[in-house]
């Protein structure tokens, strides 16, 4: 059901609560078969975005197409093929794992009981365990298992890693990767745990204050955004590109982050008594530089 190869595509998606804009003109493209990570600080609008995709809330303006369906017109058709894990993975505590899985199985057209069992037993959970007796990490696994259990074409995992212990985080990551064996399955994951997310995502989006600041394949981004370090004699003013971020000037060293790195740029900075080198940035560093600049621009 995909016309253009995108699992999710939004156009100027805006969500307003009272006077606050949770989402402001977000135009995102999530390709099919990718693992897309939407990063952003608290309150950036990540959860709101996920909720709009499932039509839990109706956007103020703009459109969103999920798996070829318009969220405003066919939300039920979307939800049938989307596995959703909400932030903090709320569950009905009184249920057992089996009861929870049973509820989900009864609501979706497809169900793979074996897959669910396999995922939960991987961390020692039994189907007869009561949800309230499980640890936080185990609950997250159960939620994920049940989301995968109905064989969705798209997984929407909101804050999937947030607040989990390292072992649980690993298990979640592992199961997400395992779930990718299905051809064409797309994973959309939001969070703040950038290093862990960086491992598995191949597309990244930065959401800050409701704006989608960056959207790019991860490799592209890593190639474009680098930190330049220039060693120079004292009192020398090194020309810094206008769109450079996080410019730090020391007496004999100047460092700045560029968003459009090229070898030519590096060469242009070389000169007598000037030594320039480019350093790869981790995604977290990139994000901090980009987010801080935006926040500064907005006067916060």
């Amino acid at each position: 059901m995909s016309e253009n190869g995108y699992a999710i595509s939004t156009e100027h998606l805006t969500m307003r609560f009272g006077r606050k804009y949770a989402l402001d003109g977000v135009s995102a493209r999530i390709p099919k078969g990718s693992i897309y990570g939407l990063l952003g600080p608290n309150g950036a609008g990540k959860t709101t975005f996920v909720r709009v995709l499932l039509n839990l809330i109706t956007p103020t303006r703009g459109t969103a197409i999920v798996l070829g369906y318009d969220v405003r017109k066919d939300p039920v058709a979307i939800r049938r093929r989307v596995g959703h894990v909400a932030a903090l993975q709320p569950l009905w505590e009184w249920m057992t794992v089996r009861e929870f899985a049973g509820l989900m199985a009864g609501c979706y057209p497809r169900w793979d009981d074996e897959a669910v069992k396999k995922i939960v037993s991987g961390v020692g959970i039994e189907m007869k365990d009561k949800l309230q007796h499980l640890s936080r990490g185990q609950r997250a696994l159960v939620a994920l298992a049940v989301a995968i259990g109905h064989q969705p074409d798209l997984l929407l995992l909101d804050e999937a890693l947030t607040g989990l212990d390292p072992i649980a985080r690993r298990e979640v990551l592992r199961n997400i990767i395992d779930a990718m064996h299905e051809e064409g399955r797309t994973v959309f994951i939001t969070g703040q745990d950038i290093p862990d997310m960086e491992r598995i995502i191949d597309y990244v989006g930065f959401l800050v204050g409701g704006h989608l600041m960056v959207e790019s394949p991860l490799d592209d981004l890593k190639a474009r955004v680098k930190r330049i370090r220039v060693e120079h004699p004292a009192e020398t003013q090194v020309p810094v590109p206008s769109n450079a971020l996080n410019v730090v000037r020391h007496p004999r060293e100047t460092a700045f982050t560029v968003q459009d790195f090229s070898q030519a740029l590096l060469d242009s900075l070389a000169g007598p008594n000037l030594r320039a080198e480019a350093v790869d940035l981790s995604l977290e560093d990139m994000f901090i530089d980009l987010a801080q600049s935006k926040l500064r621009v907005e006067g916060k």
Binding site: G18, V76, H84, P90, L91, M95, C107
Partner: protein
């Protein structure tokens, strides 16, 4: 959807458990109290009542709990995104939750009420059967749906619970107050809608509002949800309420063909117009407060008052409700008052029955079909609004008179549940009354205190019938006869109070009756008195005739203590009536001891004016066994009872009507049976029309008004 339904049940199974526990607990507790502590409980009836109330309370708890947690619990737990993320439309989710909560509540009801009806039926039947099958389910449904609504709007189960309780009580109280306050305004044919119908109308609105709040408002932010929900709620209540009002109005519209029973309130001499009280299953004069369940439970929306022209049967005026009608003597004016059963306690006398309140009065000019007044003067409201009876126009139609119970005195006297009688010493045997007077257009509202005896006596007030005078005779609180002059506003004492016989603490007036002669120059007054506290020795009874000279002073012209049998026998109401020429006076009463040899008696007397004014007894006309007599006398009073004694004075001829056997009798002659066509009638006499025909109410499957020519026996149907 089924999976979700089962999940809801499993989530809330505790409620069902609660119902099971209560179902077993209440009978057990009842048995325990019954066995061991019955000494401490006033009586079985109180225990039954208390447990019956407990059953009702439990039902409400179940209804509220079932509804309050449905949606709010999901918001509380944070599972709303999970729930709404399921591939079901919001409408489906809402419906599934509603169905689950509803079936849960219903099964709880069934368990509790089922065991209650099987094990303790005597407690539940205390509530009364219309309540159990109509009012209670509606209130429970409203409680449930309110809790469900608030569950969709608020975020916590507890808040939803409390909001439902507060809101439900507010609706109940608000609707009751609305009807109490605006009942008078609604006079005039507007429908009085039952309380339970208002609550019923709220239910679809509440349901729709809860759907809107959930489907459009869940997760959309607090303000939007509230706004959506409350707007829908108000709009819905308005729409469904109006719908119900319209349907009720349409259902209970007056249809001449549906008239089943006729009881006549008032008629003009000459038969120009008449007031009817038409209603489905009540037979009996409505101005008498009847004991018995029928009156209380009769649907007042089926009752109408109508003023009908006797000549052609045309309706001049129709109003809904019970009430009184008074038509002026020339048939020009009509006054209507509709009453409403109030939520007051029973009267102290043994006859019981509910007390009615005046809701308002309408005055119409029938000739020009124009309303002159509508309302109820506030002066009247403060002083007297209970148990209105006996409306009457002054002879020239200038003033309207109503008698009502003195509300202040009434509440003072009956201030506890089981009154033992008046707490203060009063010459009156019963409660105190007031006369309410106002002009045609409602101006000059006047309140006069007076005495009127219990309902079956002759009227203890009367208009001064002399032309050009506006006065009312009445017994004052101290037992004296007083004439209130409406033009001057003064009250003149006509006759002082009967002195107490030796040994009696105080005398109470009883069996009083005032009857002015047709030209108003002579007033006959019957006054009885008995000691209070009651003593074995008998009371006094005086029949007085007062002649009123033109200068207005009263002169006692003749007094007669009737034959010894009066004193011996009369312990029941007495009626007086004059003939048209003012020469004959008729008195009717029942005698004999209670439950033993009761007799009805009728005396005629001649009144001789002149220097040696005297009353001479002409004849004891009738003596016979039977129930309560009613003697309308004169022209006007109407008896709708088939088996009563009715005697009409008409040019010295009597039309005696008793129990299906009727006699037309000449005062001097022997009793004779009526011509055979009249024998078949057996209805109630209303009046003689100006063509000399007797207007009667014929009883059968349906009542009707007919005119009967007495001499030929020809019967003509008039109405409906």
């Amino acid at each position: 959807m089924r999976a979700l339904f089962l999940k809801e049940w499993r989530q809330n199974y505790l409620l069902f458990l609660f119902a099971l526990i209560v179902a077993g607990f209440l009978p057990g507790m009842y048995a325990l109290i019954n066995q061991t502590w019955v000494r401490n409980w006033p009586d079985q009836w109180s225990l039954n009542q208390s447990v019956g109330v407990a059953y009702v309370v439990v039902q409400f708890i179940i209804a509220l709990l079932a509804g309050a947690g449905v949606i709010a619990s999901e918001t509380e737990r944070g599972t709303l995104p999970v729930l709404l993320g399921l591939p079901l439309s919001r409408g489906r989710i809402w419906l599934t939750k509603l169905a689950a909560a509803l079936t849960l509540a219903l099964s709880g009801f069934a368990v509790v009420m089922g065991t209650g009806l099987m094990v303790l039926p005597q407690t539940i039947s205390q509530l009364g059967w219309p309540t159990i099958w109509r009012d209670l389910p509606v209130c429970l449904a409203l409680a449930f749906f309110l809790a469900f609504f608030w569950s969709a709007v608020l975020n916590r189960t507890i808040s939803a619970l409390l909001a439902a309780i507060v809101f439900g009580l507010a609706i109940f109280v608000g609707a009751a107050m609305f009807m109490l306050m605006f009942g008078a305004v609604l006079l005039g044919g507007d429908p009085l809608v039952d309380l339970y119908l208002w609550m019923l109308s709220a239910i679809p609105a509440v349901l729709l509002a809860s759907y809107v709040a959930f489907a459009r408002g869940a997760m959309a932010g607090g303000r939007r949800k509230w706004w959506l929900a409350l707007v829908t709620l108000l709009a819905g209540v308005f729409v469904t309420g109006s719908l119900i009002v319209e349907v009720t109005r349409w259902q209970t519209r007056y249809q001449r063909s549906r008239v089943e029973q006729i009881a006549v309130e008032a008629a003009t001499p000459g038969g120009a117009a008449i007031g009817l009280f038409t209603e489905g299953d009540l037979a009996g004069p409505p101005s008498h407060v009847e004991a018995g369940e029928e009156m209380r439970n009769t649907d007042y929306r089926r009752q109408h008052i109508a003023v009908v022209n006797l000549q052609d049967g045309r309706e001049l005026l129709v109003r809904r409700g019970r009430g009184l009608v008074a038509v002026s003597k020339d048939g020009k004016l009509a006054a209507l008052s509709t009453g409403w059963p109030t939520l007051t306690w029973r009267t102290s006398d043994m006859q019981g029955g509910d007390v009615r309140e005046v809701r308002g009065v309408e005055i119409w000019d029938l000739e020009r079909h124009q309303r002159l007044y509508r309302g109820f003067p506030s002066r009247f409201w403060d002083k007297a609004r209970l148990d209105p009876r006996l409306m009457e126009w002054s002879p020239d139609g200038e003033w309207l008179l109503m008698v009502a119970r003195n509300a202040e005195a009434y509440y003072a006297l009956h201030s506890d549940w089981y009154p033992n009688g008046p707490s203060e010493v009063s010459p009156f045997r019963d409660d105190e009354y007031v006369l309410l007077l106002m002009r045609q257009d409602g101006s000059d509202p006047t309140v006069l205190e007076c005495h009127e005896g219990p309902q079956d006596e002759g009227p203890a007030y009367a208009w001064d019938l002399r032309p050009g005078r506006h006065g009312v005779y009445a017994f004052a609180r101290d037992g004296s006869l007083v004439r209130h002059d409406l033009d001057t506003g003064k009250a003149e004492k006509m006759w002082a109070r009967l002195p107490a016989p030796a040994g009696a603490a105080v005398y109470r007036l009883s069996r009083v009756c005032i009857a002015p002669s047709p030209d108003g120059t002579t007033v006959a007054v019957a006054v009885g008195a008995y000691p209070y506290p009651p003593r074995p020795q008998r009371k006094g009874m005086d029949l007085l005739v007062l002649a009123l000279p033109a200068d207005g002073t009263a002169l006692l012209k003749a007094a007669t203590t009737p034959v010894a049998r009066w004193t011996a026998y009369i312990n029941h109401p007495l009626w007086l009536a004059w003939s048209e020429d003012g020469r004959s006076l008729c008195a009717a009463a029942a005698g004999g001891r209670r439950f033993e040899d009761r007799r009805q008696m009728l005396w005629t007397m001649r009144w001789h004016q002149g220097s040696a004014a005297a009353l001479t007894t002409v004849r004891e006309v009738y003596e016979g066994q039977g129930p309560f007599p009613r003697f309308p006398g004169g022209h006007v009073r109407v008896d709708a009872r088939v088996d009563g004694l009715t005697a009409i004075l008409h040019r010295h001829r009597f039309l005696l009507w008793y129990g299906g056997e009727t006699w037309f009798v000449d005062e001097s002659a022997e009793l004779q049976p009526l011509p055979s066509p009249l024998l078949a009638l057996g209805g109630g006499f209303v009046a003689f029309d100006n063509q000399g025909r007797a207007i009667v109410v014929l009883r059968g499957e349906k009542s009707k008004l007919a005119a009967v020519d007495i001499t030929t026996g020809k019967v003509t149907d008039i109405y409906p």
